[in-house]
């Protein structure tokens, strides 16, 4: 028998072509397939151009305006997920770029015929969803059920930051308080020791320091036993980073220390916290909602000047994919953040531009509020991912210097 609060997600089966829509939604881009030969825009996603049969269909960012031609209020969905959320407002929209689309309608949209704009978001199953929004923002836009279901805003939620020793961790705490988080548990290896940083964070109000050392399994388990069942969003900021080429050191102690935090730390957190997060994924308005991994753009392709760090982040990225697969079935979003070099002592020798911890923290909050899945904050990260997607082999050579 299904427990009443067992997480139920919307139907997730999609064709391979439709995963292109998911890829765009993960990045917060509104993209549709366009035929490279005749220019026809396609929807639903296809394997051959509807006009000229060309197989050269590419995902391109598109204008998102359209006209609502018709709408309905579905009061009896076939799937349990929708039955719990009935009635569901759906509409048929003719996009300015051509195709007709079926969309979920924001409650502030006017009736047909009316102008609206579309957003591509990820639903609770982690799959792409087209949402019709009013042309202009209205007050409390984010309170609409379809927006709440597709985003992970920290407002009024309880958040655990795994490490606030670093500037990034502290900036994260400040940004979350500013975004209206109800509680911010601030992980700190020894919170009982006097620390000016902790005093400053305590002064923010909702911040409560908690003892946490991700390299210590019993520490992780103990904290999970205490607050695991209350955490709505977990943000893993714990990081160990020592620059240098792999041949510049003897022995593997530095690399082991990086793996101990960046990879095994994430694994310990996943083992201790994911079950509790999954269990509360369907808790109505106050549900658990997201898991954030602060990774590195160096996870995409090794930066030999940060050889072992890049490798540990590549390992953490891979583990984060496994975590995503596990949490997705419950409707918990895993947000992977791939920043370029951050303004800290370990990137002191890296030339600018570098990312300030404050900008990184704001990007994470923004990504949660928009419900994204992959974020590349800062100019360097955006440059790296573009080069990586265009030609990974070229990037490998370029990073070799």
């Amino acid at each position: 028998m299904l427990a009443l609060d067992a997480p139920v997600v919307p139907p997730s089966a999609r064709s391979r072509a439709a995963q292109g829509l998911t890829a765009a939604a993960a990045l917060g881009i509104f993209a549709l397939q366009r035929c490279e030969d005749c220019g026809a825009v396609q929807y639903p996603p296809r394997d051959a151009c509807v006009e000229c049969l060309s197989a050269r269909l590419r995902w391109r960012a598109m204008e998102r305006g359209g006209e609502l031609l018709s709408e309905t209020l579905i009061r009896h969905g076939q799937e349990l997920y929708f039955r719990r959320r009935a009635p569901y407002r759906a509409g048929l929209v003719r996009l300015d770029v051509g195709p007709s689309t079926i969309v979920a309608l924001h409650r502030a949209c006017e009736g047909a015929p009316s102008r609206l704009r579309l957003r591509l978001a990820l639903d609770k199953a982690g799959q792409a969803l087209l949402i019709g929004l009013p042309e202009k923002d209205v007050p409390d836009m984010a309170d609409d059920p379809i927006i709440r279901e597709t985003t992970c805003a920290p407002r009024a939620r309880k958040v655990l930051i795994t490490d606030v020793k670093t500037r990034v961790g502290r900036a994260m705490a400040e940004a979350l308080v500013a975004a209206g988080a109800e509680i911010v548990w601030a992980g700190f290896a020894a919170p009982w020791k006097p620390s000016p940083h902790l005093e400053a964070l305590r002064a923010l109000g909702p911040v409560t320091p908690v003892p946490l050392d991700v390299t210590d399994e019993s520490s992780v388990r103990e904290l999970a036993g205490g607050i695991g069942g209350k955490v709505d969003i977990l943000i893993n900021t714990a990081e160990h980073h020592r620059p240098g080429a792999i041949a510049s050191r003897n022995g593997i102690e530095t690399a082991r220390a990086e793996m101990e935090v960046n990879f095994f730390g994430l694994l310990r957190l996943a083992q201790a916290f994911s079950a509790a997060l999954k269990a509360r994924a369907a808790d109505g308005q106050a549900s658990s909602t997201a898991w954030v991994n602060l990774l590195s753009a160096r996870a995409l392709s090794n930066d030999p000047a940060h050889g072992t760090f890049s490798a540990s982040m590549a390992a953490a990225f891979s583990l984060a994919q496994a975590l995503r697969a596990d949490l997705q079935a419950s409707g918990i979003r895993v947000l992977n953040v791939f920043p370029g070099p951050i303004e800290d002592e370990w990137n002191a020798l890296v030339p600018p531009p570098k990312l300030s911890p404050e900008a990184l923290a704001r990007t994470v909050v923004d990504a949660l509020e928009r419900g994204l899945e992959d974020v590349y904050p800062g100019e360097v990260a955006k440059d790296l991912i573009a080069r990586f997607l265009e030609n990974p082999k070229a990037l490998e050579r370029e990073l070799a210097g």
Partner: protein, 398 residues
Amino acid sequence: MRDAARPYEDIVVAAPVTVPYTRHSIKSAHWFLAQALARLIHSARIRKTDIDGLAVSSFTLSPDTAVGFTQHIGLSPRFLEHVPMGGASAIVQLRRAARAVEAGDAHIVACIAGDTNHVDSFRLNAASFSRFARDAVYPYGSGGPNGSFALLTAHYMRVFGATPQDYGKLCVAQRQNALTNPLALFRKELSLQEYLEARPIADPIRLFDCVMPCAGADGFLVMRRAMAKKLDLAHARLLAAIERHNGYPDDPIQFRGGWALDRAALYDQAGVSPKDIDFLEAYDDYPVMTLMQIEDLGFCGKGEGPEFVRRHSFTTQGSFPLNTSGGQLSMGQAGAAGGHLGVVEAVRQLIGMPLGAQVGKARLGLVSGFGMINYDRGLCSGAAILAAPGGRKKRGKR
């Protein structure tokens, strides 16, 4: 350009059969289809081996197709069609069978359709209906056909001024027609008030706009008139038939179907005009589609459907008899058999053996099929004109 097809040469439809519908069944599609075939054989007083052509339609026959079904029932046809076209399957089967008989590829083609309905069948079918539906419709509230047709219904109301009373009048009239039909699942009188006050399903669609998914099967035989006479079978003659798939792909939303593209060919082939038609068996999964068929088949102009509805009674004995057995709205929808319902009822009316009341002057019947809401619209349309065994109408009356 008009695509003129060769006229049919003395092709007839005989032995209309129905395996009584039930709301749910633990039996399989194979069972229902086999029973339809058994009834055809019994009704036509022929042997199984006399059937040398077979056309099959079913949503729930999986993992089998018509091929596996031949072995299941021990039939060795020399002509075999699997027609997965939902509510257009009957017309398409009829067209294929007629040409096969004309060409000598088969002497007697059994056209059957049927489905079972287990308790969870409808949801499972809706969830995996088509690739486009799975990618781009089902994740939006999983309303199934109710949600999709609600969008078409609301649009048609807004643009052409149809009212809930117009839709309701069709549903009420069809229920009236069902009252004398012993095989109808719904035989309780329905008032317009009850229709209007019924619970909303997917606005503006109300409970009585929706067909009841059920289990059942229907079938008929297609052969030459000479064969029907030899077998001493009552029969209706096939005068014309059309089909179209993915008609009007550039319409932003469906407000017409492929019938509008092909109706001139239909009436030309039959040598009759819309005013000669004595009754219409339209595909009534949902009332808005009935309105579109009335318009697109030329009984009135586009957008004049609501006015047409207000002018007629649609009862079997009234003006413009429509869905004289009660249609799917009262009989139930046995999956792919939904389109066969219209063909078997038309033949029954034309040979004077209806399940319920008889249309007073039933000489020419028009049957229309519609199927497969693959994404945002139904893709398959078809129609056929059948005539009573008597004399053929003169050509050139259009």
